[in-house]
């Protein structure tokens, strides 16, 4: 267990009598985990019920999470616990970080965070790096079916998804160096709550821009490269959804198949009782069919974890990428707008200058009235246009920046996508292979048993 390395944390154990008494009853509890985080809030850790998390294995091996043990930063999430407070009940997860970077003062950190903290983290990352593809969080309660918020399965599912989320951030060259991320991983509870409440200026700027995101169709120059990416992502998302639908349909049919098979193999057994000579053969066949059934059962059970959820989660990830691309478009829109306005003002100015040199064109009595306003206008324009110019330049810069960062992040994401999809497909295939192997061996068993019998029968 990690207890040896967390001796530093163990020494900080505060003596809260209620918790100590609860602990005495449950020997398999990891003392360090309970004492390290939960008492700081002064919240009561609920004593484990029958359906509790104490039986969940702590993640020992990082390879479970497909993480590289030799990298300079590795984070794992495990050991969920329920907390009871006066106003609410919630679940926290233990986050263990092992890091070898300069910015981090220590080598190892253990903190406890709840789901809302993750939401805060993601929000901050999006604000600080608007054109990075920030991975999506697992859904809130309503998205994961009718599972009870505190049910073991739901919590486990969420924990797994949070691990994926964190590992994606860890592997991201830019996001993993984010200040807020560091705070998230290292700060103890009171510091963390303090940090959360801070508000920075940058929030407001990004917010205003994002509201005008609906008019990307008005873009003058559609960016070829990003458009291609968008179409590609659409196709990918569609194909993945189709695959998921097909898989779930097949799964349903298989479940029906299993029902039929279950009534199939007893028939062999019944028949075997009335046939003295054929009894063995019939029994073997019945057994083989039964083994087939259980192998299929395993296949059906594994569907959600191997295919259903991973594909759906990845499709959500694709959606995030699409959103990021859309954000970039708002920048382009702003830039083009400002450019357009600049050109308009330029042409206005030119027009005014032209008309001021031809006073004969003003034939009406309003000419006197117009003259001073013309000059006024020119003056105003004289000030306004350089301002606009600056704005255009600034927009152009930020657009270029956005393009660049998005481009590089997309490259990074493509690699990630490849790995992720490959893993999903390989898992799927391996499960199928397992099933077919089990079936083949069951039937081979039968033929092996029958072969010597057959020879005997023939010689009769």
């Amino acid at each position: 267990m990690a207890s040896n390395n967390t001796s530093a944390v163990l020494d900080i154990v505060t003596e809260s009598k209620e918790i100590a008494s609860i602990l005495k009853d449950h020997k398999d509890f990891d003392r360090s985990s309970i004492c390290s985080g939960s008492t700081i809030d002064n919240s009561l850790v609920q004593s484990p019920s029958l359906e509790s998390f104490s039986t969940i294995q702590d993640i020992e091996n990082l390879s479970e999470l497909n993480m590289d043990e030799n990298s300079d930063l590795s984070v794992k999430i495990d050991n969920p616990q329920k907390h009871l407070e006066t106003l609410e009940t919630y679940i926290t997860f233990r986050i263990t970080t092992k890091v070898a970077r300069i910015e981090y003062s220590d080598n190892e950190y253990i903190v406890r965070r709840r789901y809302n903290d993750f939401i805060w983290l993601r929000q901050k990352l999006v604000e600080c790096h608007p054109f990075c593809i920030v991975p999506p969080l697992p859904g809130k309660h309503s998205l994961i079916g009718q599972l009870d918020r505190y049910s073991k399965d739901f919590i486990l599912l969420r924990m797994k998804a949070l691990n994926v989320f964190i590992s994606r951030i860890v592997n991201h060259p830019i996001l993993s160096c984010n200040e807020h991320f560091k705070v998230f991983l290292t700060a103890k509870q009171p510091d963390f709550s303090l940090h959360r409440r801070q508000r920075t200026n940058s929030e407001n700027k990004i917010r205003t821009l994002s509201h005008s995101s609906s008019t990307h169709s008005a873009l003058k120059n559609r960016h070829m490269e990003f458009d291609k990416t968008k179409t590609y992502l659409n196709v990918l998302s569609e194909k993945l959804s189709s695959i998921e639908k097909i898989s779930s349909r097949i799964n349903k049919e298989r479940a029906d198949f299993i029902v039929e098979l279950n009534s199939y193999h007893p028939i062999f057994t019944t028949w075997a009782t009335t046939e003295p000579e054929l009894a063995n053969m019939l029994q073997s066949i019945g057994n083989a069919v039964e083994r087939n059934t259980s192998a299929q059962n395993m296949l059906v059970q594994s569907y959600a974890t191997v295919i259903g959820n991973p594909i759906r989660d990845f499709v959500v990830y694709i959606d995030v990428v699409q959103e990021t691309i859309k954000k970039r478009e708002t920048f382009q829109y702003a830039y083009e707008n400002s450019l357009e306005e600049l050109n308009k003002r330029h042409s206005e100015k030119d027009k005014l200058i032209a008309s001021s040199h031809n006073p004969s064109q003003q034939a009406s009595g309003f000419s006197l009235w117009k003259q001073p306003s013309c000059d006024e206008k020119l003056e105003k324009l004289g000030v306004y246009i350089p301002q606009l110019l600056k704005k255009v330049e600034a927009n152009q810069d930020s657009l270029e920046c956005a393009n660049e960062s998005l481009r590089s992040d997309l490259e990074h994401w493509q690699l990630e996508k490849q790995q992720c999809l490959k893993k999903i497909l390989l898992d799927f295939v391996n499960k199928q292979i397992e099933y077919y192997q089990a079936t083949v061996s069951a039937w081979e068993h039968v033929t092996n048993e029958l072969a010597p019998q057959n020879n005997v029968a023939v010689s009769k």
């Binding site: 194909k239 349909r249 097949i250 039929e260 009534s263 009335t274 999809l421």
Partner: protein, 361 residues
């Protein structure tokens, strides 16, 4: 049951030594083709299928008894008629069954249309099996009408009509289908009857379940074909993974179509199981025949007993009905003779049943 099987083995060995002759040793029979024909006028056409029966003489010694080569077209109903005749003539023999009249245990892929080419072909094979089994039976194969069936198309039809077999068969069927209560029934026949019922139930369940399982299996495999399309479309937009995805799509397509061959083979196996299912029926028929005879026997015994009582009563002095008594006594004696004769016949029949039963096993 075990005694029977050892006895059966002995009999089979005896047969091998005796080499009981069947016509299959001398001629070859095959049901080679099928053809769709129509009766009636253009508007009211009734379709039916005929099957070609070919026989070839393989043993030149029998040249005088059998023609060298014959071809005869028969339809399913004629096969049924032949079998009906055999049932009436040899009530003690377990007859081989005909292939099913209507599609039984059908499912999605097996259409219930009796003109479906697959069904016609499977029926053709079943009919060939039927004829071969008949021809390899030491008693049945020498039946005149059977040989006529194989070799003379129209003559057989004539002789069938002229002998009124249709009527005979129908009457027999009616008689056998009455429920019969026996006082003393042979425990061997009871055992056979019970076994055949159990056997029938088991096979029925098996075949039903098998066809349901086959259907589900078929569905699961066919659904995989949908993958093929999606993976191909996906591979078109992927640079690096494109090839692999393409291959995956192809493989899943072939998975979907691989199930067809397997299920077709399974269908043929199911046919063989069905044959034994119908054999159970034949077994039951023989038992019924036995019961029928036994019933007759018991009825006759009852008759004899009651007549005896009458006779005794008469002899004990009911002088007022002398003429009747005389008549009764006479008829009585004649009856007794008849009853004895019947008794003998029944016992002969029962003995024949027993020997042919064991020889068939």
């Amino acid at each position: 049951m075990e005694n029977k099987s050892t006895k059966a083995k002995k009999n089979i060995d005896k047969n091998k030594q005796q080499k009981e002759d069947t016509i299959l040793n001398h001629i070859e029979i095959s049901v080679a083709e099928s053809e769709k024909r129509a009766n009636g006028t253009l508007n009211l056409r009734e379709f039916y299928t005929v099957y070609l029966i070919e026989t070839k003489l393989t043993d030149s010694e029998f040249q005088n008894r059998f023609p060298k080569v014959t071809t005869v077209w028969r339809r399913y109903t004629e096969f049924e008629q032949l079998r009906g005749y055999l049932e009436v003539t040899y009530p003690y023999i377990v007859l081989p069954p005909l292939p099913e009249k209507r599609v039984m245990f059908g499912w999605q892929k097996i259409s219930s249309d009796t003109f479906d080419p697959n069904f016609v072909d499977r029926r053709r094979a079943g009919l060939e099996n039927f004829l071969l089994r008949l021809a390899s039976h030491p008693v049945l194969s020498w039946d005149k009408h059977f040989v006529e069936f194989l070799q003379q198309e129209d003559d057989w039809r004539e002789s069938y009509k002229s002998n009124g077999y249709l009527q005979l068969v129908e009457n027999k069927l009616k008689a056998l289908n009455l429920s019969m209560r026996l006082r003393n029934s042979d425990p061997r026949f009871d055992a056979i009857k019970d076994y055949s019922h159990i056997f029938q139930t088991n096979l029925n369940n098996l075949l039903k379940a098998r066809s349901r399982v086959a259907e589900k299996q078929y569905n699961v495999h066919k659904l995989h074909a949908n993958y093929g399309r999606v993976f191909s479309e996906w591979s078109a937009v992927e640079k690096d993974m494109g090839d692999a995805l393409q291959k995956t799509g192809h493989y899943l397509d072939s998975l979907a179509s691989s199930i067809d061959a397997g299920l077709e083979d399974e269908e043929l196996l199911a046919d063989q199981l069905k044959e034994y299912l119908f054999f159970a029926n034949s077994l039951q028929n023989v038992c019924k025949n036995y019961e029928y005879h036994q019933l007759q026997l018991e009825g006759a015994e009852d008759n004899v007993a009651s007549k005896n009582v009458e006779r005794n009563k008469a002899q004990q002095g009911k002088t007022g009905l002398m003429s009747r008594l005389f008549g009764a006594v006479d008829t009585d004696e004649v009856r007794e003779l008849k009853v004895n004769l019947l008794d003998q016949q029944i016992q002969e029949g029962a003995a024949a049943v027993n020997t042919s039963k064991t020889s068939l096993k």
